[in-house]
Symmetry: C2
Subunit: 158 residues, 2 copies
DNA sequence: CTGTAGAAGTTGAATTTCGAACCAATGGAT
DNA sequence: ATCCATTGGTTCGAAATTCAACTTCTACAG
């Protein structure tokens, strides 16, 4: 599986596994995005709502939120501005650290979350979870976990 | 695992598997994108180069290319324009169907491909393939395949 | 033939994302 | 106390993406 210049090319199995992972991840976000559209939300919006909903006080520091959702600060900042305009969240400043800001779920944001969540879960089931046997589910989880760890470690590195 | 309103919420295992898949797919594209940056290419660029390289005559119809790379026609059109400006591909029209266009790899595009491919493969290995045991690789492939099929079937549906 | 629905691609404007530069506040060193 | 390197966040301009409108051509029904 190695050639003159020393490159370890992918075997057929490796190729296939890699391709399928790539395709699924793209097709899946495409589909979930689509299922969310009728509610006027994007996956990004939704994920932020989830994170805030699960946090106490329905609030999170901007940087924590950025880290949790794997977005750049810049991108999150824009994102929150849009959601603020849509009335889903508001910014509140943080008195313990005067540089800091909280993104806080509004009543409207909370309501939206409660309304949309069941549909989104249904969507995730239909297009992913329910297509996996319990064993497959476990296999996927166990296989992917070390990769996630590895990638998170790389994340900040130069 | 079901609640009053009939929603089948995700179990903890399901949650975890789902989250990890999502995270891996994001972290991975982020990382691969990064590894490609020194060569002045994006994953999109690269994927188009691959597709063209593997096609006979180093050419593909725009719509086939769009389908193969899961992009919209519009997006592909812009993408090819950029790559054309970068000298990696050129458009050629198709005499069998006068609406049609081929995207064709230029000599430069081909050279770039040959130069970059080993690094990209190395990157895919380092951040994905080599972190999976052969069994895990097979499990991932087998688990994800039906999902990909399902999603491709949904794809065009209204 | 002719008309017309649909396919192939492009275009342009609006939106989103990225990256770098920026400002303000913090927490240690000295 | 005073630097000053870092952290938290925003902003700006450039690049990428989306969405709808548009043109040209094909295919095929009548």
């Amino acid at each position: 599986m190695e050639t003159e210049n020393g490159t370890r090319w992918l075997s057929d199995e490796e190729q296939r596994a890699w391709r399928i992972h790539l395709d699924v991840s793209r097709l899946l976000t495409y589909q979930l995005e689509r299922d969310l559209q009728p509610f006027g939300l994007t996956m990004n919006d939704y994920e932020i709502l989830v994170n805030l909903s699960e946090s106490e006080g329905h609030r999170m520091r901007m940087s924590d939120l950025a880290a949790a959702t794997l977005q750049s600060k810049s991108r999150l900042s824009h994102q929150i501005t849009r959601m603020e305009n849509a009335g889903l969240v508001r910014r509140e400043n943080c008195e313990s650290d005067r540089r800091g800001l909280y993104a806080v779920l509004t009543e409207d944001g909370w309501e939206t979350m409660r309304k949309v969540a069941p549909h989104h879960v249904e969507s995730v089931r239909k297009h992913f979870i329910d297509l996996l046997s319990p064993e497959a589910l476990e296999a996927v989880h166990d296989s992917l976990t070390p990769i996630a760890d590895h990638l998170r470690a790389q994340r900040g590195r130069v």
